[in-house]
């Protein structure tokens, strides 16, 4: 079974803090993704990575950055958290075969006060 884990289920931070969300997958997948989920908006892609040290912007990258130093780990960074970044953050991974699905982690609910 594919397993995608995220470092925290719940996180509370203050405005202006630097926030790290970590995601680890154990299936040697090349592709990794970060989404945020907001009610009524579905999931929106923030960043994705096809390989170690590679990253590409998704649809809403503003205010975020990412790091992928190892194949199994993909980190999302909020350089200076703001209240409008309060959301559920979901990480996903997939193999390079384009016909396969993405496998999602449990999510991190981030609240920025």
């Amino acid at each position: 079974d594919v397993k995608v884990t995220q470092s925290s289920r719940y996180l509370v931070k203050r405005t202006g803090e630097k926030v790290f969300l970590e995601c680890v997958q154990d299936m040697d997948h090349e592709n990794m993704f970060w989404y945020r989920q907001d009610p009524g908006l579905g999931l929106r892609l923030i960043y994705f990575s096809y390989d170690v040290k590679m990253k590409e912007k998704g649809d809403i990258p503003e205010g975020y950055s990412v790091s992928r130093e190892k194949k199994e780990r993909f980190s999302l960074i909020l350089e200076s958290a703001s209240t409008n970044q309060t959301s559920m953050y979901l990480c996903a991974s997939s193999p390079p075969v384009a016909t396969d699905t993405q496998y999602f982690g449990p999510g991190t609910r981030l609240t920025v006060l």
Binding site: G40, G42, L45, G58, A98, G105, G107
Partner: protein, 112 residues
């Protein structure tokens, strides 16, 4: 810009009934994915539809894809309470890139 719209957004139905969730998208794509999300849980893959006319079935759920109409349907047959969840469709933005655009989700509640 690819837009994906689901309807209805909320659906309350009785056990034993049939219903369909619709997923429309705005630009050409021939890859569409359906996911299920239970409250407080993450997304679970249901179906991957890869070509025009694709149909997949699992238990009481059946999904189909019409790429010419830019429409996918998720049909529920003889609904049971365990199917209560939020269902998302997602369309691949660029073929082979796995950049997905998700619909808003359909919250399905099945009452005894």
């Amino acid at each position: 810009e690819l837009k994906v719209e689901q309807n209805p957004l909320f659906l309350s139905m009785q056990e034993g009934k049939n219903y369909t969730i619709y997923c429309n998208y705005s630009t050409t794509s021939d890859r569409l994915y359906w996911y299920r999300q239970d409250p407080g849980k993450s997304l679970e893959s249901l179906f991957v539809l890869l070509s025009n006319g694709a149909v997949k079935q699992e238990g009481r759920l059946m999904a189909s894809l019409d790429t010419k109409a830019r429409l996918s349907t998720l049909h529920i047959t003889a609904a049971v309470h365990d199917l209560s969840a939020t269902y998302f469709c997602a369309v691949e933005k660029l073929q082979g890139a796995q950049k997905l655009v998700f619909g808003q989700g359909t919250r399905l509640t099945i009452n005894p």
